[in-house]
């Protein structure tokens, strides 16, 4: 038994960290945030060249064939940097294609995803708070989809979207391509402008079926929960790190504020809860890769817990900074907003905790 990262995984993290340190400072994050579509093609090419887009794509489709744990380590590094763009959207689309296992669709899209030339997103939610294949209204009839999907990540720049819908036989996944007739995309204004969401309306839109049943939808959602948990962990650590460093240099009453126990104890409590939570998403990712039949619950618990912790870390950090932490100019707000996204996207904490209770058979 080995509950740790391999040398290759440590190297992978380190490589992405060094690239983002150099190429994605917060000045660049802010520029992309303020852009029209929130996408920076040059940054995307950089991540592609590091193997991020093709990480879980099998070698036969031009990827490196790694696992979700590896992708989650990439998510961790992107979260540390608050890197903007469609990483999560594209990861969801990739998992959807892999989980569906449709040969034609895989051959068509996966090599392009690995090469960074296509972005595939994923559309599940419709009504508020429902991230479950049991609650789909979008209908498929003769390979045409009709319905509305909310909170679709980066739909406006996606080359294809894996859409969860139902037909007479039940739920399934369909691929809708960019520019398809009857596809209307409305950009939504989000709290976290590093990760955009759109609303899409489908009116008899031509689509290709890639999966029947809910398994592929569940699997994609679970992958998303784990990637969000990894992002949240890194974001929380970043907030904690920024605040600890600030406390060492900010002087009041003639001494660094970090020498006051009021500050120390809040930072100690936060790290005492954060540090062990790393293993929660490591485990969830490992279960997703190696124990798929038992992976829904760890994913739900990890996402709920890390989302809450990220929120707490961001809030505590801003309070410990004082007024400067509340300014637009100071970078803490970038992670505060990402915490809002991580908590809400794919469903809030209490929803996933109740799911975890149901899944345990309590």
């Amino acid at each position: 038994m080995d509950f740790g990262l391999s040398e290759e995984q440590v190297l992978l993290k380190d490589t992405i960290r060094r690239y983002l340190d150099a190429e994605c400072p917060t000045t660049r994050v802010r520029k992309v945030m303020e852009s029209a579509d929130g996408h920076d093609p040059e940054l995307w090419r950089g991540l592609t060249s590091l193997g991020v887009t093709g990480m879980i794509v099998p070698a036969k489709h031009g990827g490196t064939g790694l696992e979700l744990l590896d992708l989650a380590l990439a998510a961790e590094e992107l979260g540390w940097a608050a890197a903007p763009g469609p990483f999560l959207a594209n990861a969801l689309g990739t998992v959807a294609l892999l989980a569906a296992g449709d040969q034609e669709a895989s051959e068509r899209w996966l090599p392009a995803v690995a090469a960074g030339t296509s972005i595939v997103s994923f559309a599940l939610a419709e009504a508020i708070g429902e991230w479950d294949a049991a609650h789909l209204e979008t209908r498929a009839e003769s390979n045409r989809l009709t319905g509305e999907k909310s909170l679709v990540p980066f739909a406006s720049i996606a080359d294809a979207i894996a859409v969860a819908a139902v037909d007479a036989t039940g739920p399934g996944l369909w691929i809708v391509e960019r520019g398809a007739p009857g596809l209307e995309i409305t950009a939504l204004s989000g709290n976290d402008m590093t990760r955009r969401v759109d609303r899409i309306r489908l009116t008899a839109t031509p689509a290709t079926r890639i999966a029947s049943g809910r398994a592929a939808i569940d699997r994609t959602r679970d992958a998303g929960l784990i990637l969000l948990a990894a992002d949240a962990w890194a974001g929380a650590r970043r907030c904690h790190h920024m605040t600890t460093e600030y406390a060492k240099t900010r002087v009041q009453f003639g001494q660094p504020i970090g020498s006051f126990q009021g500050i120390k104890h809040q930072l100690a409590d936060l790290i005492a809860d954060l540090e062990p939570a790393l293993s929660l998403w490591w485990y969830a990712a490992h279960a997703f890769d190696r124990m798929p039949e038992a992976s829904a619950r760890p994913a739900a618990l990890a996402k709920a817990h890390l989302g809450d912790l990220f929120d707490r870390a961001a809030r505590t950090s801003i309070e410990l900074h004082g007024g400067i932490g509340y300014t637009w100019e100071y970078d803490l707000q970038l992670w505060f907003r990402r915490a809002m996204f991580d908590r809400a996207f794919l469903g809030e904490a209490s929803y996933h905790r109740r799911r975890a209770a149901d899944l345990a058979g309590w």
Partner: protein
């Protein structure tokens, strides 16, 4: 990452099982004394009768117990293997067989002797301590020296071949049962406070020692006050150099925090609370059907799993020779807070019947789950109050500046 057990480990597990089947029978199990939870958490409720000792010796000879301790001091001296260690814990627990004694002697004194003791001290004390033949208590805290331990005043002066000890210790767990005490005693009154302390081993049968039990808010008495009046301790009973006791004890405190930080206590409480929620009818339905209770259980389980997996992470790191400082330092604060929150849920599940005392048969689970609500303090305060833990995490783990007034 690989959480599966390879064939080698499955074979090891089978060997352990076969050994336990032969060496620890139903009849042996029946002799188990009932243990209360605080005593169990401090490790003093384990069996140390002749039969248990005989069994432990066999298990040590097989390489199953005290694997990190050299053979010449009574251990089994096996290469570090976190997975085998985990299998042993699981299988011994399953067979309800005597495992390693976890009290302050084996967990705190033994590592200190191995690190700083003389050869004679190691030979004399280590094996007997591991087998429970010598029981220890820790003489650190004093009425005027709690969080600020280095201000302790119990003193010793040399008189010929003996130290003469005078003063008082407090919060001394199990002093009433202990054979020996390892203590911090001021021997150099003129030196700066941390440099005037000596680490001393004191035979509790020495004339002049009085032990008085201290009743806790749970009603039980695991702690004591210990008074020293002209207690004569042989001159060679000190560990490390005279005046260096503060630094000798640093190693020991680290071991105590790891002991109290173990997630096993939180796991037992959580499993108990889950059963309580399933078995307790509140306002016409089992408490487990209340969505708020379900959500709180799931939240607590996340924290518990984080603590358990963090344990695996620490084991893996130590197997690779790494010391993940921060992840190890936080365990006590994390798990004791978690244990409190689990106990608080037991209070809420028990609803108005939470006001009934432990042992009252009309209370759900005879109030035993609710009892943990007060017992939490034994976990949180043992080995240093939570705010001391926070200072240590902040100053040593996060490198924040020391409080200028506390140096």
């Amino acid at each position: 990452m690989n959480l599966s057990y390879s064939e080698e480990y499955e074979r090891f597990r089978a060997d352990v099982r076969a050994f336990l089947r032969e060496s620890w029978t139903d009849q042996d199990r029946a002799g188990d004394p009932s243990a209360d939870e605080v005593a169990a958490s401090l490790g003093s409720a384990v069996r140390t009768d002749g039969r248990a000792t005989e069994f432990r010796k066999k298990a040590i000879a097989r390489g199953y117990l005290y694997r990190h301790i050299p053979r010449r001091y009574g251990g089994s001296e096996q290469p570090s293997d976190p997975l085998k260690a985990t299998i042993l814990v699981e299988e011994f627990k399953r067979a309800a067989a005597p495992f390693e004694i976890m009290g302050q002697g084996p967990s705190m004194l033994v590592p200190t002797l191995l690190e700083k003791g003389s050869e004679e001290q190691r030979v004399r004390f280590v094996e007997k301590t591991l087998l429970g033949e010598i029981r220890w208590c820790q003489g650190y805290s004093e009425p005027g020296a709690g969080s600020d331990l280095a201000s302790l005043r119990t003193s010793a002066v040399l008189d010929g071949d003996h130290w003469v000890v005078n003063g008082q210790k407090i919060w001394t767990s199990n002093a009433h049962q202990a054979d020996w005490m390892f203590a911090l005693i001021r021997t150099e009154p003129e030196a700066p406070k941390r440099d005037g302390i000596t680490y001393m081993l004191i035979d509790m049968r020495t004339p002049g020692i009085t032990v008085r039990p201290l009743r806790e808010m749970t009603g039980a008495a695991h702690f004591n006050e210990v008074f020293f009046e002209d207690v004569r301790v042989p001159r060679d009973s000190i560990v490390g150099e005279r005046g260096r006791g503060w630094y000798v004890s640093k190693a020991t405190l680290k071991h105590e925090r790891a002991l109290i930080g173990n997630a096993g206590i939180a796991r037992r409480s959580f499993d108990g609370v889950l059963l309580l929620a399933q078995a307790t009818q509140v306002r016409g339905r089992p408490a487990i059907q209340d969505p708020v209770i379900r959500e709180r259980l799931a939240e607590l389980e996340s924290r518990l799993l984080a603590a358990e997996y963090n344990g695996y992470r620490l084991l893996t790191a130590s197997a690779h020779g790494n010391e993940p400082a921060l992840a190890g330092m936080i365990t006590k604060l994390h798990t004791s807070t978690l244990a409190y929150d689990i106990a608080r849920l037991a209070m809420d599940i028990s609803s108005d019947h939470a006001l009934l005392a432990p042992g009252e048969r009309h209370a759900p689970f005879a109030g035993m789950m609710v009892q943990a609500y007060t017992m939490y303090y034994a976990l949180a305060l043992g080995g240093g109050a939570p705010n001391i833990q926070r200072n240590i995490i902040a100053e040593r783990g996060l490198d924040l500046p020391r409080d200028t007034r506390a140096s």
